[in-house]
């Protein structure tokens, strides 16, 4: 299970209604931050999230509304004496920018262990982060500067073991239980071979979330969104301003919905709204004409995505 918490759904100009781009994925005890616009660390406070829980930060592109909160957030982690290794992923130029920050950041270089990864703009596909529990991949998307979309994929976990039934089949040992969950057959005291599928339920399919902003509708975004449980896709403009979307290399709400539909995404959250829309209902309306399960991303709201757990009852004899 993961929870997705949008922290900022605005675009380049500041507004009273919305904050700059930033979205958190909470998984187990770790936080994964996608984009870090100015003020992101304040939104952490308002969301009740401790920044020391951040495992990795993924920056889409070097327009200020997506990364100007990074110096402040890293400084705060330094001040808090944070010593855990922190992965920061982003486009080319991010390392040079962080290296150029005077004073406080120099202190951080000694105390805060930043593992900075710059994404090769030519690579079709990059594994940006990998752990036993999840993998974050990146693909180039189509904006005015090098921009990366991301997909958070919780790894699949073995199904539930029906211990009562396993015991009936003569399996009592925890080593055997573990082996069965890992897909390895075991043999009971009577020499009968027990196959994993006899006692282990279906695999838990990990939750998936795609973060696609800023971009025109594009192949990279489509692939990242493929059958995702949740897609956050930018929808800066309504159809009325479609020309403006093309000029600035952004998407309309309808285009975001078309990506969600083609990718067979389960749920679409639109965001990165132009400040001209105080009310997002027209954007949602236009998107829903193409893809019904669309909502406007709400800042600080938690969107829970359960991994798919099948009941193991059917395994009972």
């Amino acid at each position: 299970m993961i929870e997705v918490i949008p922290l900022g759904t605005g675009s380049a100009l500041p507004s009273k209604e919305r904050h700059y781009s930033a979205t958190v994925v909470e998984h187990n005890k770790s936080l994964f931050l996608f984009d870090c616009g100015e003020g992101t660390q304040f939104q952490f406070l308002h969301a009740g999230l401790r920044p020391t829980r951040i495992e990795a930060i993924f920056i889409t592109h070097l327009h200020g509304d997506h990364y100007f909160g990074l110096p402040g957030l890293l400084s705060t982690l330094t001040l808090l004496g944070h010593e855990k290794r922190l992965t920061v992923v982003g486009p080319q130029g991010l390392q040079a920018f962080l290296d150029s920050i005077p004073s406080r950041m120099k202190a951080h270089e000694t105390s805060l262990d930043v593992n900075l990864i710059e994404i090769d703009p030519e690579a079709e596909y990059t594994v940006a982060y990998d752990s036993p529990n999840c993998q974050i991949t990146s693909r180039p998307i189509s904006h005015s500067v090098q921009t990366a979309g991301y997909r958070f994929q919780e790894k699949d976990r073995p199904g539930n073991l029906n211990v009562a039934y396993a015991k009936k089949l003569g399996i009592y040992d925890y080593t055997d239980y573990r082996a069965l969950k890992e897909g390895i057959a075991v043999t009971n005291a009577q020499g009968i071979r027990i196959e994993p599928k006899e006692v282990v339920g279906p695999t838990h399919r990990g939750a998936s979330f795609a973060y696609v902003t800023d971009t025109m509708p594009c192949e990279g975004g489509l692939k990242l969104a493929e059958q995702a449980d949740l897609l956050y896709h930018e929808a800066t403009f309504t159809e009325e301003h479609q020309q403006r979307a093309v000029q600035t290399r952004h998407s309309t709400a309808k285009e975001a919905a078309t990506i969600a539909k083609e990718a067979q995404t389960k749920h679409l959250l639109i965001g990165h709204f132009s400040g001209r829309y105080k009310d997002t209902s027209i954007l949602v309306e236009e998107a829903r004409q193409v893809f019904k399960n669309t909502d406007a991303a709400e800042e600080l709201k938690r969107y829970a995505i359960m991994d798919t757990v099948a009941p193991s009852e059917h395994l009972k004899p």
Copy 2:
């Protein structure tokens, strides 16, 4: 007359209660910004101030809570197509930092005309900004890195001309009126010399404001505050944490008040409060024991300082 509007009264760690350092001086139609911590541009929105009215920005030092809002503010001015020349003053290293910001700031270099001035840390006194209406001077203050305190001085204006009395003395010409206001004697049709002091009231003394943060109590701060109408002085700690103030090169509320008293300041606003004080009343209390006219700076409140205008009635014969 000037108005001083504190936008942020917190210190290095983010808090829900306060924002990062920034204070605006409004004078005529221009705004002068002192410090620009992360989120300053949002505070402009909440204060109902248009950032395009900013004439000059003064950064005290390169700790993030005092300048990490600068990239975002400059980017926003660029996006708004702002073309007025903007003076940015700060310590050494500021130019290199601004030059290192990718993409959006590159655009700004062509459209936004930034006149960047780095303060010589060896100079006892620097005129940081000068116009016919005001002058901003800077002095080094005592923190862990190069830090500049500032004083905003509205220029004195000539007193009011008693036109009715000037006419009685035989002066009818506007050129003569202007000369008298500029301190030049004129001669009437009868050949009698009229001295300015006969018809012009006392000079309007310009309003003054000193901005002194972050610092231990020091000579520079004292000189900047000399007979100022309003002094904003940092008071990060209470007396209980005086040792911590020394270690981190900050001031206690009592020390800030001592500066205000010695400098014969009229009104003291304390700020830059450590996050440990949710309630500032203890800080104010400690300061008032030394300097009665002390208040905790309130974010978004307008502190008006009138220039001293003497009535010209006494000039009437």
